[in-house]
Symmetry: C2
Amino acid sequence: MTVGMRHDDLRRRNRAMVIAAARRGGQVSRTEIAAITGLSHSTISAISSDLIAEGILLETRQEPPALKRGRPQVGLALHPLAACVVTLMLSLNSLAAVSLDYAGNLLEEEQRRLDTRALPRDELIAECVAMLRRRLEHKAREGRPVLRIVLAIQGITDAQGRSMLWSPITPHTDIPFADLLEAEFSVPVTVENDSNMMAEALRWRDPQRYRDDFIAILLSHGIGMGLVLKGAMFTGTHSSGVEFGHMVHRPDGALCRCGRRGCIEAYAGSYAIWRNASGHDESEEPRGDIDEAEMRALADAARAQDGPERQAFRIAGEALGFGLGSLFALIDPAPVALVGLNAAAFDLIEPALREAIARTAGGHHSGSISFSIEPDQIALLREGCAMRALTHVDHQIFASGRSGTEGADRSQSSLMA
Amino acid sequence: MTVGMRHDDLRRRNRAMVIAAARRGGQVSRTEIAAITGLSHSTISAISSDLIAEGILLETRQEPPALKRGRPQVGLALHPLAACVVTLMLSLNSLAAVSLDYAGNLLEEEQRRLDTRALPRDELIAECVAMLRRRLEHKAREGRPVLRIVLAIQGITDAQGRSMLWSPITPHTDIPFADLLEAEFSVPVTVENDSNMMAEALRWRDPQRYRDDFIAILLSHGIGMGLVLKGAMFTGTHSSGVEFGHMVHRPDGALCRCGRRGCIEAYAGSYAIWRNASGHDESEEPRGDIDEAEMRALADAARAQDGPERQAFRIAGEALGFGLGSLFALIDPAPVALVGLNAAAFDLIEPALREAIARTAGGHHSGSISFSIEPDQIALLREGCAMRALTHVDHQIFASGRSGTEGADRSQSSLMA
DNA sequence: AGACTTTTTTCGAGCCTCGAAAAAAGTGTG
DNA sequence: CACACTTTTTTCGAGGCTCGAAAAAAGTCT
C-alpha cells in the first residue's frame, strides 16, 4: 500500500532530482536543472546551495569560456570527495574489485584469480572480505566515507539483493553476502546479478539507444539476461533473475547445466555449441569450462565451411530465436544488446535466430528488431556496478539530508527498500 | 524522466490516498484513514472535509451502533451521485454494457448477441456506439456525470489503451475505439484486454490472496493471461498483452489459430483439445467455435476412461506446464487463478501440468505453486472493468480537484498517462 | 450528572515552492 | 572605457500544505 506523502518527502524527491541531473550530465547549470525538472529557479537555487553546503555538489567554473552573452552559467558537478563506493565482481575463477569516488572516477582496483569451483564456502567469503578490506584501507580513498558496496555475481540473487541464491561458479548456495559484509564493514551492501549490471551500464553508456525498453543478453558459457522495461530494471518477484537461459526451448530436450532438459542454454551456451559441434550427444554431461580460444576456433571453423560447427551455431540461433519469440509474446519486442564471448559469433547465429523469431508471435515485426553487439563485457560489468553503487548513494544522501559519514547502521532500513 | 514535484502534486497524491482508502474499505473513518496513510489526523480532516464539500465523499453514520466507548467514528464513503461510469464488454458473438454509480452500485445493464465475426467494421463500431448511447441516455443515470467509459475486448490492445489491435472475434484490426468513442461522447475512454480485467477483479475480490504477484489464466477457446507483478498490472511495452497463449511450446508444432505453429494455445485452447481428442491431425485448421456443452462432454469422456479425450487434456496440461515453467523462469513462481470454461476441467489438466512444470527451471518449488479455480468468468470481467473505470475516475477527480462535470476534453491528457 | 474515552476539528508553527524583483557577471558598442 | 544589453542566480514575501498540541465533540460507564 502506498503511503501518504509528507512535506519532507517532497524536498527529498526534489533533491534527488537535482542530484540525478548532475549524475547524468556531469556538468549542469542551475538553469538547466530547472528546465529538466520543471521546478522553479528559486527552488533549484535553494536546493543546490544546500547541496553545496553539504559537500555533495561542487561549483565548477571551468566550462568552455561561454561564447554566449549574458551571465555565464555555473556548472554544478558531484563532489568527488563526498563519498567512495566499492564494487566487487565475482565470476568464474575470478574476483575483482574497484573503488570509485563520488563523481565516478576510478580510485584503484584489483583483480585476482581464484578457483571458485573448488573453494570451500568460508574461504570464498574470506576472499571477498579480504579484497574489500584492502579497498577500504587503501590510501587512495583519502578519507572519503565508503557509503556503498555492490557485489555482482554470475548467478541468481534474491529480489532484495541480500543473498546469492545459486551460481554456476560455486557449488555453494544461499550465501547471505549482504548480511555478512555489512556485519564486517558496517557499510550497506547489495548483491546484484551480473547481467542486470550490464544492462544498467548500457543505459548510462548510450541513453539514446537504451532508454525505456531494451534487453541485454549475455552469451557465454551460460546465457544471462538483463531486462529494462518502462525505464526500470525488471527483476523477479523473489529472485533477481530473468532466467532467460532456462526457458524451455524443447521439452525433454538437450541436457542443461542446471540438470534439467531442453533449456535454451542447453542449445546456446558455449558448452552446448561445443557439444553439438564436436558430435557429442545432447544428453551428455556439459563440459565445465571452455576457453575463449577454443570457442573462437569453433567460430572460425563454422565460418570456413558448412560443417557441424556451423550447424551448432545455427542450433544456438534457433534456440535463442524461439526463446526471444516467446519473450516478445509477453513483453513485446525491444532492442537487443548482445554481450559476452559468443556475441562475437553473432554473424553465425543471426540468420537462424531471425528465421526462428519470424515464426513466433513475437516476430510480427521481426525485421525491425535491432540487435547490436556490445564488446568488452568486463568494462560493462564494472560500469554497471559502479553506477548502481553511486545511484544508491545518491538516494541515500538525498534521503537523509545529513551526509552521514558515520555510515550504514540506521540508513540501511531506508536503503534496502 | 521523472519530473520535479510541486506543492499541489503533494496534495493531489494525498487526496488520492484518501479516496483510495474509501474505495477499498467502503466505509472508513478519518482515524482509519490516518492510520492507513500515515498522515496526521489534521491533514486527513482537512482533506476529507474538502472532499465532502466537493461531493466526492459522503458521511454515513449508519454503522453498527459502535459498542466501543468514546466518540463514535463517522464512516466516510464514496458519494454515489458523484459520477457514473459505463463499461462495454465485447466478446465472441456478444456485446454487453453496464453502468454504475460512483460507489460501484449497478445502475443498469444490457446484453446482446451479435455475429461479431461476420459484422462489417463500421457496423461493429455502430453497435458499440448505440449501446453506449442507450446507457448514457438511460434515466437510471439521473444526472450523474459520466466520467469514464471502459471497453474490454478479447484480444490485443495498444499499451495506451487507445485501440484494439487484433482480436479473435473479428477479422478487423486496428480499430481506434478510444478515439472514436471519445469523439462521439466526449467522455474519456480506454480499451482494455479482458484477461487483464479479470486479474483486476481478483485483486478486489480477494486482496489477501491476490495481492502483489499473481497470474490469472483464462482457459477457453484461446488462452489469455493477466499478470500482476509487484502490485501493478503488467502490460507489454507497445501492446496490452501478455500473450502467454502464443509462447512457443514446440517449435514448428501444432497449428495455432494465429497461423503460426507450436504456440501453447495450439495445445491447450478448446479447439486444440477438441482436435486432439477427436483424432484430427494437429496441422488441421482450428475450428472456429466450440460450444460449452461439447467441451463438457469431452471432459466427461476423459473422466470416464483413459482414451483420446483424456490424452488431449493431458497434452493441454503439459503445454500449460512447460509454458508456466518458462514464465516462472522469468518472473519467479506466483499463485495462479484459473478462469474460463476449461478451468472446470482442471482436474484433468493438473497432473500433467504439475509434472511438466516440475521439469522446468521455474518448477523449483513446483509443489508449492497454488492453483485456484475462479468460476463465473463473466462476473469477473464485469467487476474488473467496473473497478478499472472507477479507479480512473478516482484519479481524475483527485487530479483536478474540481470535480469536472463538464467532462473529458482536457482531462484526457492527464488520464491517459 | 459527572468522569472517562475516543474521534474530530481548530490553530499556530514550520517547511517548501513560487513568482517577481533585484543582483550578479558577463558581452557588445560607440 | 563607460554604458547598454543579456542571461543566470539569488533574494524576498506570499501562499499552500502538513504537523503537533490543544480544544471541542459525542458517545459510554458508573
